[in-house]
Symmetry: C2
Subunit: 514 residues, 2 copies
């Protein structure tokens, strides 16, 4: 069998950024669209998104949150009335000013000056303000609360530097928006969403994450508390993979979301919002990809098992295809990770070995090759994407297995791959969080370039605010470092703040980040 080691030109250790772009291209996930900052998500990339959507949506619905759809356009006035929000957000956005095109008299088109909008419309960068308007209409009494809504939508943030999946002008996401009677209930929802994201990241995407609260300087504009899940990429950088915000009554004041409480008194609602996006896919690539391409965790893989018949464009092919179809059907009739196994019989013309590398690059969890001799012996050749190479002979590590035996093992194998990918990522993550760094100078030394992918540092701090915090943030920024979050499950503080020298009150993560 063919033995092309490393299906990619670039290795992670040589140039992680170039490797990332190459994986996206080699796995045929997405490409530049030619429209500024926007990408085309191709079937394999979109298929992964559909899986993430399906699994996340099940969790959202199970929590009693109802899906709605709100307008893509937001009037300027909505941004104007929430000053803090404007300051943080209302800058780089796509602005619609005209509603008609006409000929420019030179063979081209132009916006019709006669069709200028009285009030420009913004293409939503996020929907707090427009959903706030709806909540103000929908909520009158405490009986209407909690109000739990979510939408799956595209949003646009005009980005100057873009990178596929990680930062694009248009991206796809879900945004949950909820209204509650009081702080306690809103905080409970903030944490429910955060925990849902943790579970979805870890159980579905096999991405180990650290859930925690963002420091003041990293809060969503208008939020009272911002919580995040942070994942470590293989280059040691952090990826914020989802956020959940407790918004206090800030947006309720701006939009007039009020209710009569049980005593008949008018109160402002406490609201939350929470979102994850196609950025998650970037996290999957940078966590699970290797020097042969992508590896997709089985639960979110559009195809979990791909069967490749060794076709020879001869009459015998028919019998081989029938055999493969039997294998396919017997696998498709089974469940793994709680759903029917997704199995594809790839009948495209071309050599099996060539197609194999397509699927290795795409990261299908299990590849099954079947040649005439396998068929005669009632066998299949099974290749696991997570154990691609035989360490002794350096060849693809096929296991020649009786078809019935493979069929009875396949579900367990997929679950083992899922779990193994998570464990591998978690071990790497845990091995790359450094504790005990005692000063900002030591932090700077840690990231001086002598270690290529240095990972994260967890430090104790006194939780400075305002100017004091800004000063620390500036110093970190000089080393391209940021605060990630205060881990929810960290040990209590027991030392001194390395920034202020005051007694520490909690632990916080420091890292380079996407």
């Amino acid at each position: 069998m063919s033995n092309i080691r490393h299906a990619l030109n670039t290795k992670r250790e040589d140039d992680f950024s170039a490797w990332y772009q190459e994986v996206i291209s080699a796995a045929d996930m997405a490409e530049d669209s030619g429209v500024r900052g926007c990408m085309v998500i191709k079937p394999w990339g979109y298929g992964i998104w559909e899986r993430i959507q399906r699994l996340m949506d099940d969790r959202i619905k199970a929590a009693g949150v109802q899906n709605c759809y709100f307008p893509i356009f937001i009037p300027l006035a909505n941004f104007e009335r929430e000053a803090e929000h404007v300051e943080g957000f209302a800058k780089e956005m796509a602005v619609v000013t005209h509603h008609r095109l006409i000929s420019d008299g030179k063979g081209g088109l132009m916006p019709d000056p006669e069709a200028k909008l009285e009030e420009p419309l913004v293409v939503r960068p996020t929907s707090e303000t427009i959903i706030g308007d709806a909540m103000a209409r929908w909520v009158q009494s405490w009986r209407d609360l909690p109000l739990l809504t979510n939408q799956w939508a595209n949003v646009v943030r005009w980005e100057m530097r873009t990178r596929m999946f990680l930062r694009t002008s248009e991206f796809l996401w879900q945004e949950g928006h909820t209204a509650h009677e009081n702080r306690e209930q809103a905080l409970e929802e903030t944490h429910r969403a955060l925990e849902m994201y943790r579970a979805c990241a870890e159980e579905d995407m096999a991405l180990p994450v650290i859930a925690g609260e963002k420091p003041e300087n990293e809060r969503f504009p208008g939020a009272v508390e911002t919580w995040s899940i942070e994942a470590m990429m293989q280059d040691g950088k952090a990826l914020q993979a989802g956020t959940s915000h407790y918004l206090g009554t800030n947006f309720a004041h701006a939009a007039g979301i009020k209710y009569q409480d049980r005593e008949g008194t008018e109160q402002f609602c406490h609201t939350t919002s929470w979102g994850v996006s196609t950025r998650m896919i970037g996290g999957v690539i940078m966590t699970h990809g290797d020097d042969d391409g992508l590896r997709v965790p089985p639960r979110i893989s559009p195809q979990q098992i791909v069967i490749l018949p060794m076709l020879r464009e001869k009459p015998e092919d028919e019998e081989l295809l029938a055999y493969c179809e039997e294998v396919r059907a017997s696998l498709a009739a089974q469940s793994a990770c709680g759903e029917p196994i997704r199995v594809l019989l790839d009948k495209r013309p071309g050599k099996a070995a060539g197609k194999r590398w397509d699927w290795v690059r795409k990261g299908a969890p299990i590849i099954v090759e079947v040649g005439p001799r396998d068929m005669e012996g009632g066998k299949v050749a099974v290749l696991r994407r997570d154990r691609l190479w035989n360490s002794e002979n350096g060849k693809p590590d096929f296991a020649f297995t009786p078809r019935d035996e493979f069929s009875s093992q396949a579900a367990a194998m997929l679950e083992e791959i899922q779990q193994g990918m998570f464990e591998q990522a978690r071990e790497r993550r845990d091995a790359n969080i450094t504790r005990g760094v005692g000063s900002l100078d030591e932090i700077a030394a840690f990231y001086d370039g002598s270690t290529k992918y240095p990972g994260w540092i967890e430090v104790q701090w006194s939780k400075p605010t305002g100017d004091a915090l800004d000063k620390v943030v500036e110093k970190l920024k000089a080393h391209k470092l940021t605060f990630r979050n205060v881990p929810r499950d960290a040990e209590p503080a027991d030392g001194t703040c390395i920034f202020t020298g005051e007694p520490a009150v909690e632990r916080i993560l420091v890292a380079k980040a996407y």
Copy 2:
């Protein structure tokens, strides 16, 4: 039990348009957003859309079409290079001209004059041109064909007069786009999509439709052939519920979608596009609604059975809820129409009779009420939304049924409701297509207002083109009439064209339309 006949203020026969708006509001499906021409789709309306999406997406995937996602923004140049397309489409569209907002110095915001785009971007009204660009990159050889793509997306067409679901500036849809080697294969795909739409409309939405070809004047701009499915609303008007276009090589020439054929010669691809939208939901309302509200066909109903316990806010409620939960679980464990039954135990506070009317207005197919006496007798009270009223006593027609008996009948009952709704709509549709009208004057007389909801007319015609067709279209327009389509399954022509007096070549439908 409570006996409020007619849950709505407006009857269909009095004011169909006001009735339509009232159903949307009474069933809590959608509302105006306050943003020009855009609606908010609320959970019940969006839940129906999610069902339609799921069922349609299954059909799309089964046909080997792959979902992708393309940018929401389309550069002006894409519209400019396809002149015929510009003529027809590039008029009322949302145009993005700036990428930043700044303070206007008066406490408000404005587009930043420094951040004007060099080339304005159009918010996609449909995606032929941007997907054409991708196809040109993706197709090189006949081996890359057919290329079968679809996207689920929002699109914007700046509408002057809007009506919820039927015509809104922003709407949700799917758009399939495919490229083929030749005319035959592209036409085959055009008809596959049309047939998929017919099946989805009839089998999933219980909407009887007539599939046929649009006359020349109703073609999609840039199409060589446009096919549609047309549904008859209860006011006799037609609703175009889906379209499938054979685009010839028009868009391929504009975008440069070329391939090397089997002989090595460069050829232009033949492309198709096809779409259905949230408009379908308007069709469901106007086909199945009655004077008590909406009726949702079981296959697309977010909840198929709703259980209402008669709670009294007393300790006995607990036992009643446990009984209802058992009923719920036994139903949820079963399948109807090929999927697990979707059943909701509505535990909200409030009287069962009050909540009953909420669900009648929403159109849940089966409502089950359970009081303490029903529980004692091991029974449930079953109300079918399609047979709400007892014709003898004028009361809601509850069937008091042993719970096990109901449980064993529920799946069959849902299938019967689905089928019955389709049959009822088909009979009404068939009874309201008039044939044998012999002249334009007779058509005018038919629609003179003496019959409130006159339905459609099928006439024979000689298929005039160009100016001759325009003249006929103008005359029909004077009576607010349009050509719908030439039914695929109509009898062959055997008479004279009522417009031109020439020998007829086919039959065509004439109707008022949405």
